[in-house]
């Protein structure tokens, strides 16, 4: 292991372990070049948007790096570097809209949200008036998602139990298939169905309850699937241990299986609630919206936060747009709180 072997290896016929590599400084240099060329283009031709600037600079960097890398390191390395750059760009591309959306909602919403905004309705507020608030919409959203959870959770849980504990053969496969169909059901179709069934065929008035029915349909597949996953995770030994003690099957499910899977099921339910809390289209067709406070979801039209955002955003006045941003901030906070709570439940139980 001495110097003698080292000198032998340095002779021709060595292993070529050292690959020719671009110096580290080359990459910032290429980047600076790409930006410089883009700036020149910016001056010469009318590039009007920052989006365009970033896209062009990114493309130029990729080309520059590839050419340099092929020249120095060969095509395999060049491809590897190119793909690495593309992957990083892809991630950046995804983060930009997220940051942009959140930044817009927070900065524009924060200007509008205050106690007054949260505690007043739109009653007697004209489209051009600056006042008004979202109290009625907040009430509507909370009542509708509560009702929807009340309907969807027990039903979905039973379906999931059937699929995991009892289901086999064709019926179970069919049910499982149609859960997938429901998962892919566009939310507007759920609204159209409640419109067709409840409002047109049964000739009922639009209410918060009708909206909750539409949201129920959207919650069911999400809750069934997550509950199914959680029930499947319960080890079979646990069931068999319970049977061995002479506990009947249904009591085993109710007393052993469900409690074991419960934290996961709760997480799934919360995520489902967070998802339907932002749904607009089904509510548009079923609750009709109102400017006044209506605490009763079973009588008269209600409003909801997403619907409120939609109707305010569609108006030309700046005061209406501002209200839309304010409501958007409130809705995002609500949804993120639900998400955070769901993850918290998941994390706390995983550590155990």
């Amino acid at each position: 292991m001495s110097t003698s072997t080292a000198t032998v290896a340095a002779a021709p016929g060595g292993l070529n372990l050292v690959g020719r590599q671009l110096p580290r400084a080359a990459f910032p240099a290429i980047g600076a070049g790409a930006v410089a060329v883009t700036v020149v283009l910016y001056v010469l031709a009318p590039i009007t948007s920052r989006i365009q600037f970033v896209l062009i600079a990114g493309a130029l960097y990729l080309i520059g790096q590839t050419v340099a890398s092929i020249a120095v390191e060969g095509s395999r390395r060049a491809t590897d570097r190119g793909v690495t750059t593309l992957v990083y760009l892809a991630f950046l591309l995804a983060v930009i809209p997220l940051v942009a959306v959140l930044a817009s909602v927070i900065s524009k919403g924060a200007q509008r949200v205050d106690v007054d905004f949260l505690t007043h309705s739109m009653r007697n507020i004209g489209a051009r008036d600056a006042g008004g608030g979202i109290y009625h919409a907040l009430i509507g959203t909370l009542e509708q998602i509560a009702l929807a959870s009340l309907f969807a959770v027990p039903f979905s849980l039973l379906v999931a139990i059937y699929l995991v504990e009892y289901g086999r053969g064709r019926i179970s496969r069919t049910i499982s298939f149609f859960v997938d169909v429901l998962t892919g059901l566009p939310s507007v179709i759920a609204g159209l169905f409640i419109l067709a069934f409840y409002i047109l065929a049964l000739e009922r008035k639009p209410t918060g309850f009708a909206g909750a029915l539409a949201l129920t349909i959207l919650m069911i597949p999400v809750v069934v699937r997550s509950a199914e996953e959680m029930l499947k995770l319960v080890p079979n030994d646990l069931r068999e241990a319970s049977y061995a003690l002479g506990v009947s099957r249904w009591r085993t499910i109710v007393k052993v299986v469900i409690p074991t899977a419960l934290p996961g099921i709760i997480t799934g339910v919360m995520l489902a609630v967070a998802r339907v809390a932002g749904e607009t289209a089904p509510l548009l067709l079923t609750i009709f919206g109102t400017d006044s406070i209506n605490f009763n979801p079973f009588s008269g039209p209600q409003s909801a936060l997403p619907l409120y955002i939609y109707s305010q955003a569609g108006q030309p006045q700046q005061v209406a747009i501002d209200r839309a941003w304010g409501a958007a901030l409130t809705l995002i906070v609500l949804v993120m709180l639900l998400n955070a709570a769901a993850r918290l439940v998941a994390r706390l139980t995983r550590v155990r």
Binding site: M1, G14, L15, N16, L17, V18, G19
Partner: protein
């Protein structure tokens, strides 16, 4: 084409955890070296530092020198891709690419290196599969998925895949631990045959296997759980198993600990 390996001052980490500490040894060309020792002693870690596969794991890093015919694998500018091409590896569980046929599995490494010529690929497939004692069993179904073979066949397919790129060194990380006794025997036969062309390093839990296949044996151990593994002694296999210098080695091979 086989190569000697000289390791000095080798220390490997997983994050903050020091897995092996200050290892020194040399391996002669065209020999079989077995790494033995209790679980967690770092013998697989040392093996994976010999082709820079250790650093593939998250937060893993290496200090020290590994010389391949005098060239430091961890020297400046060394490309791990070139290292791994020169030092092939066979894993604990057979891992043929599931979406590829037997043929495609064998030539996967060659294709990466830009070999496209059909006649050359055909030639190398037969050569490698013969080298891995698998040709007769699969020559009529080269287009079938590699995952359809038995475990022992899959492992020999992986050996064929590793030798198809004509490496200098072949590393084997407990290649028989997932196999039945008959497949194990087939792999052991193969190792003695491959010895004429390659420097082979094999990690094994099975002391009989080390005694059967290797020329040199290295015994690793660790003092307590959480301590880094270290090399206790390395010597001719007959000596290690008949008259080891270190007391720890004797205790281990006679089954008194580990």
């Amino acid at each position: 084409m086989a190569t000697r390996i000289d390791v000095s001052g080798l220390t490997a980490y997983y994050g903050k955890f020091k897995a092996v500490s200050d290892i020194h040894f040399s391996i002669e060309p065209k020999s079989v070296t077995a790494f033995i020792g209790p679980s967690g002693c770092g013998k697989s870690t040392v093996l994976r530092t010999l082709n820079r596969m250790h650093e593939v794991l998250p937060a893993a890093r290496v200090e020290g020198r590994v010389l391949l015919d005098g060239e430091d694998l961890y020297g400046p500018g060394v490309d791990p891709v070139n290292v791994r091409r020169a030092v092939g590896m066979v894993f604990q569980r057979p891992n043929p690419f599931p979406t590829m046929s037997i043929y495609d599995n064998v030539v996967a490494g060659l294709r990466l290196n830009g070999v496209r010529k059909k006649s050359l690929l055909d030639e190398r497939v037969e050569e490698s599969l013969r080298g891995a004692n698998l040709w007769e069993e699969v020559k009529d179904r080269l287009g079938r998925p590699g995952a359809g073979l038995s475990g022992g066949q899959q492992q020999r397919l992986c050996i064929a895949r590793a030798i198809a790129v004509e490496p200098q060194v072949l590393l084997m990380d407990e290649p028989c631990s997932a196999l039945d006794p008959i497949s194990t025997l087939a792999i052991e036969d193969l190792i003695s045959k491959l010895k004429s062309s390659y420097t082979i390093v094999i990690v094994t839990h099975n002391m009989q296997q080390a005694a059967r296949v290797s020329d040199t044996t290295a015994f690793f151990t660790l003092d307590r759980t959480g301590d880094p593994g270290r090399l206790v002694e390395m010597d001719r296999t007959e000596k290690i198993f008949s008259n080891p210098t270190e007391k720890r080695t004797e205790e281990y091979i006679t089954g008194r600990f580990g």
